[in-house]
Symmetry: C2
Subunit: 176 residues, 2 copies
């Protein structure tokens, strides 16, 4: 995308990152996810359930959150967590930016911030699962720009004709 198509990137110094999860994040996450027009009703419910799981069980839920606030409004979030029974493998489950603020660098900033926290927590590798459908080509290109490589394809995973691509990235501890 060129600057003619989108406003310039948000200056990271204006972005406040927040890790604590609050009860009103249930509605905030719903609004952000719905705003994209990208996710099905079931997917929206799953996104919300992960917030509720964290509210109920804290980090024992396995779901960590990173919210990006601009002018005290939460406009994007990442949800990630350690993969059970692994040494240092993490999943990045969700990364969503409020529709009106997409293409401003917030997603990339959140990915980098999540990776830094994962590395601090002893993470070695980050996995991202996404659909291989054409609808997801911008998603796939975004993760590849962030340094993720497709490591596996599971055919007919999401539905017949809808494969899952597993992206991974090895974190270099010294690089963060």
């Amino acid at each position: 995308m060129t600057s003619a198509e989108h406003p310039p990137h948000v200056d990271p110094s204006f972005v406040v990152l927040r890790e604590t999860v609050q009860p009103d994040d249930v509605g905030i996450v719903r609004d952000i996810v719905v705003s994209t027009g990208f996710f099905t009703a079931v997917e929206v419910e799953v996104a919300i359930e992960l917030v509720q799981e964290h509210l109920a069980r804290g980090t024992r839920s396995g779901y960590c959150f990173l919210f990006a606030e601009l002018e005290r409004r939460t406009v994007a979030y990442a949800c990630y967590g350690p993969i059970a029974c692994t040494v240092g493998s993490f999943d990045l489950y969700w990364l969503v930016v409020q529709q009106a603020l997409r293409h401003r660098g917030l997603g990339r900033y959140l990915v980098q911030a999540a990776e830094a926290r994962i590395a601090q927590a002893g993470g070695r590798r980050v996995y991202i699962e996404t659909s291989g459908r054409a609808l997801y080509q911008p998603t796939q290109a975004f993760y590849e720009r962030c340094g993720y490589a497709p490591e596996a394809v599971l055919h007919d995973f999401y539905a017949p004709g809808d494969p899952k691509i597993v992206y991974s990235k090895a974190l270099a501890a010294g690089a963060l």
Copy 2:
């Protein structure tokens, strides 16, 4: 294995399958999993947590159980469930047989019984994830005998040098 090494297979007509999960299954699952000497303490905890999740939330937990009883004793179990945000994909999370009763056909019987229930619930594909380490070669061979094919390998997934193999099997609705 030949019959010289192991007693003959258990007659399936002696096996009672049970799907309801009861509070004492927490201890039963712990005993079965520990008996194998195969799983780490963390893995045992995860196995137990899935039972507790089912007791707390029922099928909404996403974890279904199938227990095999012999002479009113629970001697093996399978844990499986639908994969969120997919149409008809299921994970077979755990399949464990009491150590003293291994190599008697109970594992295979449980896999087939779980597949039948998955197909009845609209399942199309079953996934099994296991380690690519040498320790797991009997596990890998067992799933291949059950008709599962390795579809993807994620290097360094469980730990450096310990890859994850993703096995899958397409269920033929008419065949069950």
